[in-house]
Symmetry: C2
Subunit: 394 residues, 2 copies
């Protein structure tokens, strides 16, 4: 477990006089242990006194389990008619009683707007409906709301998290290359998205990578005019002269990137270049403000003003960015006109200005992921982002 | 909306004296309207009196909205600082007051073990944590628990649902062909999975298909011995002479298939054939019992006994099947030794016997999806399921 994360969590427990914290969402387990569960029914018991215990189902693969922590199996998925949850709740209760004989309060995040998917991302984990209520009862002293501060753990990426994110962004860069290589070839949007998706999936099982999956969406020509409202792919064939927007969430080992690139298939028009320059300029204007202590709405404003001054004021309908890393969209304050948040060291935010309009014949967005550092910022998503691919003319 | 579905829902409301039902989970909206939401924040208001109203976010694509129902936008995703949910709750409250001036109780499924993903399957929809509590309050008469009976709607697929499932299974059959075509080529598990995934994604935007996505996982050789416990792909290269298991959930327009095929790369051994014959025989034994009124645990028993009699008694560690169609795994009774359920017309169940063991050098499972009909059953997943591909010898 990352030293900084350990320190943050233990300080929180001390400040709030908690006997233990519980974590079970896939994104929480990645944050705490760098462990992305397969089934999504693992629970971390993290006590103030003594060592933590990770409860995993009998069916969890051994090779994805984290090192340096006691792992205990419980009989989820075993065909013996027992209720595995009853076994689990009792085991946690017993652990807590051992560590805090006089009793003590537990806390966990009761609700945080869903969660990242587990490795089995085709469905939500089959958690029992009363999980939170049952976990409250593992302590006679009950549950304590550590809500805001506990959720704040998402907003601080450690050195371990940054290393995880760098791995994700290396694969993202490869996927972006595939996008630029294939964008001129007259594919449908869906086929181009499939090629990008496949490029990421192929990395699964590569060196140090047991899970890689992407959710790419491609919108071209008139469809790209909608890319400020939604993203998805259709069977529309990509034509020469069109803007082509790739929006992509991708997850590698539990760490997420959220990337957008826009290419032109064929020749870019003057309007395309003006739109591109406005968006890149807006990104630079935002970067100029990125450092700890700056109000997040000021960053949005800098980008928004730049786009307005470039003559595209009515064409940027969404916020400038949001936090990311443990999910496609992390919880926490956003870069938007209505934000009350302040940048802090360790945050990872997207910076994603866009210009879209039927009147413009399409839309264009560039989205990068940026780490806030003590001195300012560092772009994590350093891949090609020109209108034209590196080896495909200009 | 399907006539049968309408009838089932309206009978339920009458029996339980409800003024309205509310639905918001992606799988519920598919069941009610054949509509798979993009963002996952749409809500269906279905009153006992008068016409239903579907509330969708401003940002929802027009072309995926269902026909034949009033659609009303609410300002989710619009950058104006308003709380879209407050607008939505009030709109539902006003509709209810119009239809039931004297007041009346509403119901919805409070919890049903998660949901299927929306089109943006990389994360759960950003629903507010107190959604259920707020929806309770749209009626002064409060919420009424229609739980079991309401959840029972999942267990009855209508003609419309069957047509949707047939479309999904046509694409599944294509994906299975890609699997058999590529299994001999010395790929890694992850690359073979990527090719299958890509074949499904390419169908997105095809005729009548606006969404297609697959979650394929490939396990080969020694890894296939684990396929009774979990599924995932690794970077292991598939070798000649190995068993290769493809497990795949796939979703087309909101309708799910859950398929397993096992191929042999190269020559099958006698043991492989014995395992295969036992699994196919177990499926046939189960099929012999499939008709309305039969206890689900008896179906499991027939397959389990067959496998035991074939000499593989200790190697079938999981239940025979579960319901599917609106999700990868639908809620409801399962085919297992501990099931108390009874087969009913309109159910769709998986039939997925498997044999796995280190001692056997690997694992093998065949999984099909079967509709229970008035007379018996119909297999929906009629694609190739031999150990060897059609055009690849043997």
């Amino acid at each position: 477990m990352d030293t900084k994360r350990k320190e943050l969590v233990e300080e929180l427990m001390q400040r709030q006089r908690l006997a233990a914290l519980l974590f079970w969402r896939p994104d929480e387990l990645v944050m705490m242990l760098g462990y992305m569960p397969l089934w999504g029914v693992s629970v971390l018991f993290y006590p103030a006194e003594g060592q933590a215990v990770l409860f995993v189902p009998e069916l969890e693969p051994e090779d994805i389990l984290p090192a340096g922590i006691e792992v205990r199996k419980y009989p989820w998925g075993v065909l013996d008619g027992r209720d595995p949850w009853v076994v689990l709740y009792k085991a946690i209760r017993d652990e807590l009683a051992k560590r805090s004989p006089g009793g003590g309060r537990v806390s966990f995040i009761r609700n945080i707007g869903g969660s990242a998917p587990c490795r089995m991302s085709g469905e939500q984990p089959p958690l029992p409906p009363d999980l939170a209520e049952q976990l409250e009862r593992v302590s006679d002293a009950g549950w304590s709301d550590a809500g805001g501060e506990l959720a704040g753990l998402y907003e601080q990426k450690t050195a371990t998290d940054v290393a995880g994110l760098e791995k994700t962004h290396r694969i993202a860069a490869h996927a972006v290359e595939v996008f630029y290589r294939e964008v001129e070839k007259g594919h449908t949007e869906a086929l181009l998205a499939a090629q990008v998706e496949s490029a990421v999936q192929e990395a699964s099982g590569g060196p140090g990578i047991s899970f890689a999956k992407a959710w790419p969406m491609v919108q071209s020509g008139r469809n790209s005019a909608d890319a400020g409202k939604f993203n998805r792919s259709t069977n529309k064939v990509i034509q020469s002269g069109e803007l082509v927007v790739l929006e992509m969430g991708l997850c590698v080992e539990g760490y997420w990137a959220d990337i957008t690139r826009t290419a032109v298939a064929g020749e870019a028009t003057d309007l395309h270049r003006r739109m591109y320059d406005a968006v890149i300029g807006a990104q630079r204007a935002a970067y100029g403000l990125l450092r700890p202590g700056v109000a997040m709405r000021e960053v949005d404003k800098a980008a928004r003003d730049y786009i307005r001054d470039a003559g595209f004021g009515g064409y940027f309908p969404h916020g400038l960015g949001h936090q990311t890393g443990f999910r496609y969209h992390d919880p926490g304050d956003t870069l938007s006109p209505f934000s009350t948040g302040v940048l802090r060291e360790g945050m990872v935010v997207t910076v994603e200005p866009g210009i879209y309009g039927e009147a413009l014949g399409g839309g264009l967005r560039i989205e990068d992921n940026v780490l806030i550092t003590a001195e300012g910022y560092r772009i994590l998503s350093e891949s090609h982002r020109e209108l034209k691919g590196k080896n495909h003319g200009n």
